[in-house]
Each structure stands twice: as C-alpha cells, then as structure tokens.
C-alpha cells in the first residue's frame, strides 16, 4: 500500500446551465496572453457534439490515452520504441485548425471609416496573423446544438447507438442535450506525463496536480498527442506546452480554483481523495467492463486505520487526512456511486468525476403526469430521449450498469423529496424506489443536502498545503524575499 492524496473534483451535470462563466474566469486569469489565445483550459461543450478540439474523443484519429498490448499498458501515441522518429513530426498532433483560429474585430474601422452609403463594419481579424479572416469555427461553435446536425452527428460517442436511436436522438422534435464542462482531469495515470521525453510534466505527490515545468519543456509536443482529453495545449508563441494548473496557488492556500469559485450553477465540488498508488498498474490492465470498479478501487477509505498509517508514512498531514474524511468527492464517487469519470477506457484514471445529467430523462414522460408506482417511476429511464447507451459510452466505458445505477438513484432521491415536500407521490412508493435504487432514506437526505443545499464550505473542502512551511524546511526563507510571482523568475519570452 502506497497512499497518496489528490485534490479531486465532481461536476454535477444536472446543475450546469452552460453559461461559460467558468471558462471566462479561467481565461481571464491564465490564458489571456499571446500564444495562448486559442487555449481554453476550461471549456464547456454541448453534448451530443464534437467538442473542442473537434472530435477529441475520436482516438482512432488522435491516438490519445493508453491501450493494453500483450498484457502491458502502452501509450497509443508514442513510446520508447518510436518517439525519436516522431520527434521531427507528430503524426497525431491536432493543429490550430482543429481548435480554431483566435480572432478579434477591427473595431477601429467603426470610428475611422470614411463617410459612405453603408454602415461601417468591424471585420474579424486573426489574432495570429493580424490578417482579415472568415470565421469558420470557435471553441463552442455548436453551443446549444447550434450548427447541428453538422456537429452533433459527428459525435464519436454516437457509435454506441443503433441507427434508429441515433435518428431518434437527432431528429428535430426530439432534440436533447446537456453540457459537459471540461478541465484537465489531473489523472492518476496521466498519459501526458508518461509521454514527455524531456520529463517536463510531473504529478505532484502532495495534491496530485499535474504540471508542465516550463523551464524543462522543449516543445516536442508528445503530451498534446498523448492526452486523450486534449487538455495539454501548445503555446505557438513561446514554443512550450501548457495546461490547466488547477489554480494551484489558490488550492495551496485552501481556496477553490477560479472556475470552481465562479461556477454559477454551483455544480462543482472539490475535495481530497486518498488513493493507493500500488493499485494503479493492475487497474489499468483490467478489461473495459471492469474499469469503473477498478477505478473506484484505487480510491482508499480515509477512515481505514491501515490507509491512515500508510498516508502518514508518506508524509501526508493530519489536516489532509481529516479533510479526506469530509470530502464531498468521496461521497459522490465511493459512498453513493453517483459520480463517474469520463471515458475511463482511456485508462488514465481521471480525478474529475461527473454526475450524469438526469433532467432530460424525466421530462420525457408523455402525458406529463407523475408516476404512482415504482416500475413507472423508473420507466422513463428506458424510454429516455438521451439514450442510456450514449451516456454509457461517455461515462461507463460502454457499460450501462454504473450509469443506470447513478440515474436511478438520482430519480429515487427526487421522488423521495417530492413525496416529502409536495406529497403527490406516495411515501411508500418513494421508499420502494429508494430501495430499488440501493439507497436508504438517510442517504437520500444526505444526497439531497449536498446536491441542493450545500454551503460553499461543503462544496469545497480543501486543506491548505502550507507551502510556506515546505519552503522553510527546504531552504532559507529569506532567499525568496523580494522575488515576484510564483517562482518563475525568467520572463516567458520566446527563445531565439
């Protein structure tokens, strides 16, 4: 047993309103710079849809993530055998056109255009070349299914559906969608780290945040190809790769990252998970059908004395263990089985989990009346407009079981609360629904409380990491006196 700690995340998709406030918060803090204009460390996609960069989930094309070859876990994109021959040219690298060409507008023309018969316009100008461009796409071009069927129909997850289901899903009358906010998952088995030949990427032992050391990165771009979620970005100006840093200067001081803090729908939770690093390798070799469970098994019980002892032996502090015991993420993922990682079949073991969206499902009941027995309560799940196969492709490595379990439980909790507050569902029916969903009334109350009424401090249980003490332990604190910023002393300018 080798227990480490990780600041992990849950996004409750049912609550996401697709407002992009998170993306803007991140952009303003981190990526509003030359070379990073096109980067959205946090982006919000409409599903079904092709996402950003376009069709990132199509690993036949991008070759991201891991695969099992002869009983070994290997990167799909590159390895020790072939990286030197791919260093001159990355065969699977997404280029700017797969993201979008960032632009601004020629606003000046609105003021300086000579008088004429027509209204002056502000034409779009490329932020890269400075030339006029025709905008062909943007990071959320298919927001709210706009641009469908061109976009929605190209969603790689639709391969899991039968032709009838696909037609059903996409036909105009039956439009259905949900939002998928995405940031780097700060994975347990990060493909980006393993692919970097320079050793610039690393995972932090204390909190599991995955970072690119900008002074070691040489712009070989292997990480961009290897990350199956396409959450490492190449800065075309500095020639370095960059990625979400989970606002570590904030997390280290116990504050929520900017995108979490600003989230309007309050869909985001952050808390510590303890995990057993010794289990990662074995879990990565399990077949797709067992991956959801294997992933959850890596996460250790923070109340187990053995786990605590091993954590302490690894230098994990009491405050971190305590906060792991209060972790909202642990509850969603382990206690309740409500939250699922995106595409576990990529085998990077994300530390960001999603509670699958339920809303479109219940609203499909045709006559609009509420069910009055358990079978009928769950019936809409089967007739759902958002086919369960689709959600399974996204969150269950193709397995419907875990997704069905999460949706059923959410429905049961709703019926339970409805029975209590509105009273139009029989309390016995609600109890039976809870039982059928593997949930007790107590658990239902807990889920309700953490989903609907959580305070800020219940959503974000983040122990400060006391970097100041770490610095004092390692070096003379006065050495850092008068230095600016977060340790980067060289202006990030493009090399000669």
């Amino acid at each position: 047993m080798d227990i480490r700690s990780q600041v992990a995340m849950v996004f409750h998709l049912d609550k996401c309103i697709g407002c992009h406030t998170c993306s803007i918060a991140c952009k303003n803090v981190w990526t509003d710079r030359k070379g990073a204009e096109y980067m959205w460390w946090n982006n919000v996609e409409t599903k079904p849809g092709t996402g950003y960069p376009t069709k990132w989930e199509d690993q036949d094309h991008y070759k991201g993530g891991w695969e099992v070859v002869d009983g070994n876990l290997q990167l799909k994109s590159s390895g020790k055998k072939n990286y030197l021959q791919r260093i001159f040219y990355q065969p699977n690298l997404p280029t700017l056109d797969e993201y979008y060409e960032p632009w601004t507008y020629d606003y000046d023309n609105l003021f300086s255009a000579p008088e004429g018969d027509d209204q002056p316009t502000a034409r779009p100008v490329s932020k890269i070349t400075g030339e006029y461009i025709d905008i062909k796409g943007g990071p959320n071009w298919d927001d709210d299914l706009s641009g469908s069927p061109l976009y929605a129909r190209n969603d790689p997850n639709l391969k899991a559906l039968t032709p009838e289901q696909e037609l059903q899903l996409l036909s105009i009358e039956q439009l259905v969608m949900f939002y998928l906010p995405r940031i780097c998952n700060h994975c347990l088995n990060p493909a980006c780290v393993a692919s970097c030949p320079s050793g610039a990427l690393y995972k932090r032992g204390e909190d599991g945040i995955v970072l690119v050391n900008q002074e070691v990165c040489r712009g070989w771009r292997f990480c961009v190809s290897a990350c199956p979620y396409k959450k490492v970005f190449y800065n075309w100006n500095t020639g370095k790769s960059e990625k979400c840093i989970l606002c570590y200067p904030r997390v280290e001081t116990g504050q929520a990252p900017a995108c979490f803090h600003s989230c309007v729908g309050r869909i985001r939770y952050m808390g510590v998970l303890l995990y057993d690093a010794d289990k990662i390798k074995e879990a990565g070799l399990r077949p797709d059908s067992e991956l959801v469970d294997a992933h959850r098994e890596i996460i250790a019980d923070p109340f187990n004395p053995e786990v605590i002892a091993s954590a302490k032996a690894n230098g994990i502090g009491d405050d971190v263990i305590k906060s792991a015991q209060k972790s909202p993420v642990y509850k969603f993922v382990k206690n309740w089985g409500l939250a699922l990682a995106p595409h576990v079949e990529y085998r990077t073991f994300p530390m960001l989990f999603y509670v699958p969206a339920l809303a479109p499902v219940t609203s499909t009941q045709e006559d609009g009346t509420l069910a009055n027995n358990v079978d009928e309560l769950f019936a809409p799940l089967e007739k759902a407009r958002m086919p369960i196969e689709y959600l399974a492709a996204l969150f269950g490595a193709g397995q419907e079981g875990p997704v069905r379990y999460a949706l059923k439980k959410q429905m049961a909790v709703r019926s339970w609360r409805r029975a209590l507050t509105v009273g139009d569902i029989d309390i016995e029916v609600a109890k039976a629904a809870l039982a059928a969903a593997g949930c007790t009334p107590e658990q239902a109350e807990e889920i309700y409380a953490l989903t609907s009424l959580p305070t800020f401090d219940q959503r974000f249980v983040i122990p400060a990491s006391h970097r100041e003490m770490a610095i004092e332990a390692l070096k003379n604190p006065l050495e850092n006196k008068g230095l600016a910023g977060i340790g980067f002393r060289e202006a990030p300018e493009r090399g000669l």
Binding site: L188, N189, K203, E206, W220, G239, A277, K281, A470
Partner: protein, 233 residues
C-alpha cells in the same frame, strides 16, 4: 599563410569556444528559452515533408561525418573496395539531397506561409540560409571532388583531430579548393551560432527518456522523494 592560420585555427577555436560558453550561460540563466520552437501546430502539411526530409537527411549525413572523424582508418579500409566506396558515396549524396530538399521546403514555408511568418525571427532566416550554404557546398564537394569520403579521412579528419588535441595542423586543409573550404568555414560559423539560434534544440535531445520510468511524481516536502517514479506505470 596568415589567413589560413586565422581561418582554420583561430576562427574554429573562436566559434567552438563561443558555442560552448554561450550555450552554458544560456542554459544556466534562461532555461525557458530552450525549445524546439516547433511550428507544426500552425502548419502541418508542408512541415511533414520539410521536417522529415531535412532531419533524417542531415542526421544521417552528420553521423557519417562523425564516423569518418572518429575512425578515418575504418572508412579508408571500407573504401578499398570500389563497390563499397560507391555505396557509401551514393548514400551520402542521397541523404544530402534529401536534406537539401527538406531545407528548401522549410525555407519556402518560413518565408511564404502567413502563420509561419509570424513566428519567424531574423536569426531563423540567417541560420536557414547558412544551413543552405552548408548543404549546397557539401553536395558540391561530394559531386565534384570525388571521392570525398576517402579524402575526408586523409585530410579533414586529421585536421579536425589536430584541432581537438590542441595541436592544430591547418596544412592538411590549406591547399583544398574553395568549395570544401567554404563548407568547413560555414560549418564553424553554424557551430558558433548554435547558442544564438533555435539550433539549441539539438543540445537537449531527450535521450534520457529511454531510461526513465513512465510516470514522474515529485514531492515538495520530501526532498529525498522528489524524483520518485510512480509504481503504477
């Protein structure tokens, strides 16, 4: 005579010292500036041919030069058989051509593609032109003064070795024709310019990846575990 001493003794030493010193200073004080500065992200299609042809061609040609420098005797005995001599020369010329093709394509891409122009510095153009001079003069030497591989072993290799052992013997190359001389001088110029250009990327080719465990976990508080590899791959 004095010119020769400067061109083939003073100048090479100057350039080599410059390369070593400035590279160390640059690496020590501005590690952020070390990058391949790849532009594949901005333009993919032309780069495929340009970069592959150029890099493969030049790497093999350079390996050939290195072998001849280290083991001139081996090259001479290999060349004793005309078939093998022809094979070696043909390979060299083919690879040189490949590199030339790639280089021209990269140069055209740099100067014409609108996105690439944005990330092109003066030094980029200077070094590309110098490399062009280098490859063209090399090919010219190979094609006009045969058999280059043999006389490289008898003249250039001892000259370079004499530089290496601080016992410079410019007389080995003093009487060579202009073509090979240009080839040597531009080579020293390029070496001297390495730390002032994007060529620094080949000083940091990540060979250590071959020995590394896949995952890197760094602990902040435990200096002894700073570079502990993760046991799960």
């Amino acid at each position: 005579m004095l010119t020769n001493t400067f061109l083939f003794v003073g100048y090479p030493y100057l350039m080599i010292v410059l390369a070593i010193l400035v590279s160390i200073i640059r690496y020590r004080y501005t590690p952020f500036s070390f990058s391949s500065l790849s532009s594949q992200f901005l333009e993919n299609d032309q780069l495929y041919w340009g970069s592959n042809f150029w890099h493969w061609g030049i790497v093999i040609v350079l390996l050939g030069h290195l072998t001849a420098f280290l083991m001139p005797g081996a090259i001479l005995s290999w060349n004793a058989n005309p078939v093998r001599l022809f094979l070696l020369e043909a390979t060299g010329v083919t690879m040189g051509m490949l590199a030339l093709l790639g280089l021209v394509s990269l140069l055209v891409r740099r100067l014409t593609h609108s996105r690439i122009k944005v990330v092109t510095s003066t030094m980029d153009v200077i070094i590309l032109v110098l490399l062009l001079v280098q490859v063209v003069s090399g090919l010219d030497t190979a094609l006009r003064y045969r058999w280059g591989s043999s006389w490289f072993a008898t003249n250039a290799a001892p000259y370079l070795q004499s530089l290496f052992f601080f016992n410079p013997k410019p007389q080995y190359v003093a009487s060579l024709p202009l073509g090979p001389k240009i080839h040597m001088l531009s080579a020293f110029t390029i070496i001297g310019l390495i730390p002032f250009t994007r060529l620094v990327h080949f000083l940091v080719v990540p060979l250590h990846y071959l020995w590394r465990t896949p995952q890197l976990v760094i602990w902040n508080r435990r200096p002894e575990k700073r570079f502990n590899s993760q046991s799960g791959r």
